[in-house]
Structures are given as structure tokens and as C-alpha cells.
């Protein structure tokens, strides 16, 4: 079991090793090959077309903000990448392969809904699912292993949740639970991180911390990130490009190219004004 853990998050204090991430990921994706390729992808759910002929490419190490109004299909897009939803047309390639469930190269934190249950689980148990929750067998025999706990605690520390490690998950606030889910997604050191509105429940200081953490992983480990958000402003200093979804269509590009009155008006099919004030961008005229 311990060899499986060697590649994962280093315990606190250990120097980050960019090389430890090479191994398996490199074989699957030579550096030139895109991480995500969508070509003419359409998705229909319950008889409605959610995404229509969406085409884009995302390269290794890119930090992408996924934006768009409620119901635009942002979560749906992530589920397509995870292999949970099958597109009705078009091709999707991840690391050069078709999407499939259980792809270890992907870390995923879903759009938040409060986790509760009659029977509680400690924060560290929840985060630990990211490490070995999918494996058969009880797994608690060598007392969980000190090494396993060190990995979990390192991940908890990254999201500033070490103090919550032994608390019942059901007693934590929405933002605290959200941080646990991010830690869980990071635990297997994925090459591609899909985060569905990870910032929605966070206070300003944790929002900044999580953005800084993800940007750091992106820069130092070459992790590719798709982060769904409703506000691009806190992300502007760190993202490479934005993927804007609306009415089933997608626009991708640098923020200053996509978040403009002209591009968004075309995407929404209605007049939209992008206003810059106090160093922040505001989209006016539609429900964003």
C-alpha cells in the first residue's frame, strides 16, 4: 500500500517535488499534447440541448475560469469531462483519450450541497476518501497507517482546515465543508483539477487562500485547472483564459478578449455591457 502513497502530497515541511508528478502523467500526455479537446460537442439532457457544438482546446498547466449564467451547462461540462454524462454528438478527448469514470488523472470537487447525515464522519475520514475511498476492502487494518494520516493532514493544512480534522463533517459550515472537498480532490495529486464553484461559500480570506493555493499548484506542478465561478474578479490576477458558456455556446480566450461587450453580446444574443469600475469587471444587462 505504501508504494501507492509515494507520489501523493508530501507531509508538511517536505520540499515540494515537481518531479514526483512526472511519472505516469507524462506517458499519457507529452507536454505538447492538449489536456482537453472538445470538438463539436453537443449535450442533450431531458430532451433539451444544454451544450451545442462546443469546440475548444485546453493546454497543460492552464488555469481556466469557467463562467456563465445559472443553467448554462458549466456543471454539465465538467460531468462530460468526468465521463458521467455522454455527449449526444462530437468528440471529447482528455489526455488524448476518451473520458472515463475513475480516471486517476482528474481531481474533482462537485458543486456544493451540504453534506449531512444521521451518522457522522470526521473531516479526516471524508478527505481520506480521495486517497482510497474507491478501493475494495475495509482498509483500516494497519490502523489507517501513520503515513496515510500524514498525507491527509498535509492536504487539510493546505486548505487551512487542520483544526477541523477530528470534527464531525455534519457540524461544519458550508465553506468549511467546501474546503474539505477541495482537499479531497487534491489528495491524489491529479494532473487535471475540475472545481465546480469552489469559492461560492468562502469568506474573502479563504477565497484568496484557495485561489493562491490552486494557482501555486498550477504553476509549480503544471496542474491544469478548470474552475467554475460566478465572479471572475478575484481570479483575474491568476487565470490564463476564461471559458464563457451561455445559451449552449462557448467562448474561450483571454479575459480581456472574452469579457467584452461585443463578445458577450454575441454569446448571449442580447445587448450586454461590460463595465470596468474600481479595478473590477461588471457584466450588466443580463443575469450572469
Amino acid at each position: 500500500m505504501s508504494t501507492k502513497h509515494d507520489q501523493r502530497l508530501s507531509p508538511p515541511g517536505a520540499a515540494p517535488q515537481a518531479s514526483s508528478l512526472g511519472g505516469r502523467g507524462q506517458e499519457a500526455s507529452p507536454i505538447s499534447e492538449p489536456v482537453i479537446e472538445l470538438e463539436g460537442v453537443s449535450v442533450c439532457l431531458g430532451g433539451r440541448t444544454i451544450l451545442q457544438e462546443v469546440t475548444f482546446t485546453i493546454n497543460p498547466g492552464e488555469f481556466i475560469a469557467v463562467l456563465g449564467p445559472n443553467g448554462a451547462g458549466k456543471s454539465t461540462l465538467l460531468k462530460v469531462l468526468l465521463g458521467l454524462i455522454r455527449p449526444s454528438a462530437g468528440t471529447v478527448r482528455l489526455f488524448g483519450q476518451a473520458p472515463r469514470r475513475g480516471n486517476r488523472l482528474i481531481g474533482y470537487a462537485p458543486q456544493h450541497r451540504t453534506l449531512e447525515g444521521a451518522l457522522s464522519l470526521r473531516a479526516r475520514d471524508l478527505v481520506g476518501f480521495g486517497l482510497d475511498g474507491h478501493r475494495w476492502g475495509p482498509g483500516w487494518f494497519p490502523a489507517g497507517g501513520r503515513r496515510r494520516q500524514a498525507i491527509i493532514e498535509a492536504a487539510l493544512a493546505e486548505v487551512d482546515a487542520l483544526a477541523l480534522a477530528d470534527m464531525p463533517v455534519a457540524h461544519l459550515s458550508g465553506g468549511e465543508q467546501q474546503r474539505l472537498l477541495i482537499a479531497q480532490a487534491l489528495l491524489s495529486q491529479p494532473r487535471l483539477l475540475l472545481l465546480d464553484e469552489p469559492l461560492s461559500n468562502l469568506d474573502l480570506s479563504h477565497e484568496q487562500e484557495i485561489i493562491a493555493l490552486i494557482a501555486r499548484l498550477c504553476r509549480t506542478h503544471g496542474m491544469t485547472v478548470l474552475l467554475v465561478s460566478h465572479d471572475v474578479n478575484p481570479l483575474l490576477p491568476v487565470i490564463d483564459r476564461v471559458l464563457y458558456l451561455a445559451r449552449g455556446h462557448a467562448a474561450i480566450g483571454k479575459p480581456e478578449q472574452v469579457i467584452t461587450s461585443a463578445t458577450l453580446s454575441a454569446l448571449y444574443g442580447a445587448p450586454v455591457e461590460v463595465v470596468e469600475a474600481l479595478g473590477r469587471l461588471f457584466v450588466v444587462g443580463v443575469d450572469i
Binding site: R101, L115, L119, S120, L121, G133, H134, G139, A163, P234
Partner: protein, 290 residues
């Protein structure tokens, strides 16, 4: 009392009861976790209809019980995750099965003692063969749950992420409910269809309020289940006429009640250390980010 324990049928009741208490506590834990308590109530009732049907056909009621509970378990497992819709479907299925059971009973002209014992359970007439059967099936259930443990726990708490991580969530849901059906089939002989629910859910519900980690909750639930079952059988033997299921349900209730009232004190969240410095750090960070 010691002399009572030397009767073979009482020994058999204790042995079978021990197996049943252990598996019921373990499967009951996952039933609670997965929000399937209503299914845990419905399955034995559906099984009762099957047992009544088998009696009508002159078969061993256990076969009818197994056929109906396993069939319903697979159906419920495939129903999906939407809790409200699922419980509605289960309710309709259960009432339909109960109606069938009623029909079978009214068509049956013979002496319905076997049906009565399916409903309320009995500690009389548990043979060595029954004990061996209970032991074998319990072992099968426990080994299966041990093998499925981590994915089952993961998919109980967070089916969406579990599915994305490659856990076969649907298949697990069905497999787990089949294990519940098997648990019910062996438990019914002692505690009866009407009160199997007590042994499934009572120990796990109480343990869940006292312990925090899954392993500890399960062990405590097993201990409570054994306590209720052993005491229940003992009291039933001493009383002579009152069925064991009454005592088990009664014990389960009087332990749950005070725990329910008092336990929140243990589970209150501890004071978070270092709250103020963290807030300060956050402020300075915001300032620098602008």
C-alpha cells in the same frame, strides 16, 4: 435460569440470535447512512407477503420471503438517488405487497400459525439446521460488507464524487440492498417481520449518537444489538408467552431515548483554536491582494 439455558432450543435461539444481531447492526448502519431506513421498514413487510404466498402454495415460507425481499431490494436499488421520489415508490410498493399478503391470507384456509410466526417471530422450534443456516448467511453478509466497505462508505456519503472516482455506485446500491434482504430473511425467524426494523435500525441509531468514526459506530452498534438480543431472548424465555421481538423493541427504545436526549452534549463542536489570529491574517491578505 441456568437450567433453562441447557434446553437445546434455547441454545439454538441464542446462537442464531447472536448471528442475526451482528449482521443486523452492520447492515443497519449503512441503511441509516444511505437514508434507506424506510426501505428497511418496507422490505420485511414485502417479505411477509412473499411468505404468505408461499404458505398458500404449500412451500416453505422462507422461500417466498427471500424471493419477495430480494426482488424488491433490486427494484429499490435501481430506483436512484432522489430521496423523496424513492420513498414514495417504496411506500406504494410496500402497500401493494401488504395487500397481496392480505389476499393470500384470506385465501388460505389452513391454520395460519406459520404466518403468525413470520409476523412476530419465535424462539421455539429453531433447529440446529436453522442455526447453521443463520451462521452461513451471516458470514456471507459480513465478508461481503468487509469487501465492499470503503466504496460503500464513500458512495453513501458522496455518491457524486464516488461515481466520478470510478465507484460503481448503482451496482453497489443493489448489492447492498440484497445483503439487507438476506439479513431480513434470517432475522425474521426470531424477531418477526413486523419488528425486524428494530434490530436493523435501533442499535445503529443509538451508536451513531455516541461514537464519531464509522468503525466505532459499527462496533458499538454490534454490542448494543447483542445486548438487546441476548436480554430479549432471556426475558422471553422467562416470561414464557411474550414474544422476543417485544423485548428487543422495548430495550432498543429505552436505550435510544436517553441517548437521544443527552448525546448532543458530546457531539458539540470543540472551541476552534486560533480563530482570532487567522482572521487577522485574512484581513492583511485581502489588503495586499487589492
Amino acid at each position: 435460569m441456568i437450567s433453562l439455558l441447557s434446553y437445546p432450543f434455547i441454545q439454538n435461539a441464542f446462537l442464531a440470535g447472536t448471528c442475526i444481531a451482528i449482521v443486523a447492526a452492520v447492515t443497519g448502519y449503512f441503511l441509516l447512512l444511505r437514508g434507506l431506513t424506510f426501505a428497511g421498514h418496507a422490505l420485511p413487510n414485502i417479505g411477509f407477503a412473499g411468505a404468505a404466498g408461499a404458505v398458500l402454495l404449500g412451500l416453505d415460507p422462507l422461500f417466498g420471503l427471500l424471493a419477495f425481499t430480494i426482488g424488491a431490494a433490486i427494484g429499490i436499488g435501481l430506483l436512484g438517488r432522489n430521496l423523496r421520489e424513492r420513498d414514495l415508490a417504496i411506500g406504494i410498493l410496500m402497500t401493494f405487497a401488504l395487500a397481496l399478503g392480505l389476499l393470500f391470507l384470506s385465501l388460505y384456509s389452513g391454520y395460519a400459525e406459520r404466518v403468525y410466526s413470520i409476523l412476530f417471530g419465535t424462539i421455539l422450534g429453531i433447529s440446529r439446521l436453522d442455526v447453521l443456516l443463520s451462521f452461513g448467511v451471516s458470514l456471507l453478509i459480513l465478508v461481503s460488507i468487509l469487501l465492499l466497505f470503503r466504496p460503500l462508505l464513500f458512495s453513501s456519503y458522496d455518491p457524486e464524487v464516488a461515481e466520478a472516482r470510478g465507484v460503481p455506485v448503482r451496482l453497489l446500491a443493489v448489492a447492498f440492498l440484497v445483503l439487507v434482504a438476506l439479513t431480513i430473511a434470517i432475522a425474521v425467524q426470531i424477531v418477526g417481520a413486523l419488528l425486524v426494523f428494530t434490530l436493523l435500525v435501533g442499535p445503529a441509531a443509538t451508536a451513531g449518537r455516541l461514537a464519531l468514526r464509522p468503525g466505532a459506530v459499527i462496533l458499538l452498534a454490534i454490542a448494543l444489538g447483542l445486548l438487546y438480543t441476548w436480554l430479549g431472548i432471556l426475558l422471553a424465555v422467562l416470561s414464557g408467552t411474550i414474544p422476543v421481538s417485544f423485548f428487543i423493541a422495548f430495550l432498543s427504545f429505552i436505550v435510544y431515548l436517553p441517548v437521544r436526549l443527552i448525546a448532543p452534549r458530546w457531539q458539540r463542536r470543540p472551541q476552534q483554536p486560533g480563530l482570532l489570529p487567522a482572521a487577522g491574517a485574512g484581513l492583511s491578505q485581502q489588503a495586499s491582494a487589492r
